[in-house]
Amino acid sequence: MHPRWLPVKSRLLAVTLVAAALLSSAVVAGCGRSASGATDQLTVTGSTTVLPIAEVAAEDFMTANPGKSVLVAGVGSSAGIESVSSGTSDIGTSSRDLKPEEAGLGLVDTKIALDAIAVIVNPSNPVDSLTTSQVADIFEGKIRNWKEVGGLDQEIGLVNRDEASGTREAFTKIVLGGGDFDPTAAVLPGTGQVRSVVAQSPTAIGYISLGFVESKFTKERVKALVIDGIAPDENTVAAGTYPISRVLHFFTKGEPTGLTKEYIDFVLSSKIQDEVVRDAGFLPISAGVK
């Protein structure tokens, strides 16, 4: 072979061969890939609202207990309930209570946090308080101008969340009673965006988890409205008087045991409750009486 053979041709061929080898080995491996259960492995699936808590708690849990593994996925409360009752996962997380038809599935409920939804407006907005039905009418598009609820003569800037949002789900159920949102409302995919837009626009109104009304990341401020005469804060939520609130659940099939119990106890420990839960914008379950 010519020693000067090396350049372009064989380089290209070599690269092609490497790529082909990678590809075929991956295909073979991919076809054979399946989730084989490690014995000390926990699967947690469900609500995207609960996901941040579950994920960070899982990380901390695995750091504290090497050798044990917790896999967390966020697909939705309904999917989570379904997968835990069918045995696909060990824990199903949910941001909603069980539906009547789900009552007979043999699921045990562990409450892990409280979530209150604050209705927020710009701090410069003269409106301070609304009733639940006014809020519903605003978000359904029936009330379109602030003057109809005692504010300035300005068109209401309606800010909604995306349909994947657990907060939106809860808001629909609790406030709208299953009604439809105004389709012309802006649909934003994240809490921070809703907060930011409301903080910057005098006519805006939106809803976010109470824990995010105050933020350490930005100087922008929003105002949480008094609903039906109850101001949203930890006490009213814990007492159950603030109307727009819900519980976050871990569901298990039967009483939790073994690794499942260890993880749940870990999530209920004060460290996780005071740091992770609050960071995620929720309230520790210990603050509540529900």
């Binding site: 939705g76 068109e155 800037g157 800010v159 995306d162 349909e163 994947a164 389709p183 012309t184 409302a185 802006a186 649909v187 934003l188 995919p189 965006q193 837009v197 910057q200 626009s201 006519t203 805006a204």
Partner: protein, 326 residues
Amino acid sequence: MDTGSDLTGRDVAPDMCADDGEAMRAPEPPRKSTGLTKITRATYLKEAALQNLFLLCACVAVAGVALIFIFVGLKGWPIFAKIGLLEFLGGATWYPTKEHFGILPLIINSLLAMSGALLLGAPLAVGTAVFLSEVASPKARSIVRPAVELLAGIPSVVYGFFGLVLLRPIIAGLFGGLGFGLLTVWLILAVMIVPTIATLTEDALRSVPEGIREASYSMGATKWQTIWRVLLPAAKIGIIDAVILGMGRAIGETMAVVMVAGNARVIPDGILKPFLTLTTVIVMDMPYASGDHRTALFGVAIVLFIISMLFVAAIRVISRFGKGMS
């Protein structure tokens, strides 16, 4: 239009596709010129095998298009089967939770977004291209051309992020409302398509022979008259191609749009009202869509793919039409 190079090996800009560059293809090795070259069977087989290998590589592109049609089409097919093509494309309500899968408002919104972006961006781009090709001093060129290339390289998320954190509040402050809507989208998209249109327009202008400019000046025309009455018409086909490519880019853009459009599933009744497009509906709904909804999203993807292929076909048709004329 011969875009051949000369013996100094100067840079050649290929046409937008219709010409397969016959002029540039290397000549075949000499056959029996001196009788010294004996092509052995082994060499011949090797050469043929190599050629076929290269052909295979080239056909990967065709395979790609076919695969996209197959995989995305198969996943999206059930929705067409279920509600019919007409109902899908022409249905006036997109409300998946209530089983409404009409994407007409999305199509209209995509077209609205694209049109405004084009109206704002094309003149800006063509002006920049004219600047680079005809007006700029080498020093100015050394600033503007890299700027255009850099604009092309900025990822669309960064554009969207910029739109979200800076542009939206400014628009909201100036015009009231939330700042989401067509106006903001137009501004961001216009800047995004400038590099696409400008680079191709500059190529088109550069391939107009120098002699034509000299002839125009020698007749007493000013620079602007030359540009407006001679050069731009001469480069017309290339510019149209560039603009169509920009249109394709604008209508296919997702990340930048989703952050500033507001994503309301209706046709907006103003340029400051939120709206949803063919591309943003996919990125907003995909995370949670299941069943028919998910199938419908794949259906939207196929529609987008066909639209982009139509743009490519349009460019070919126009180029061939233009060739016929010149």
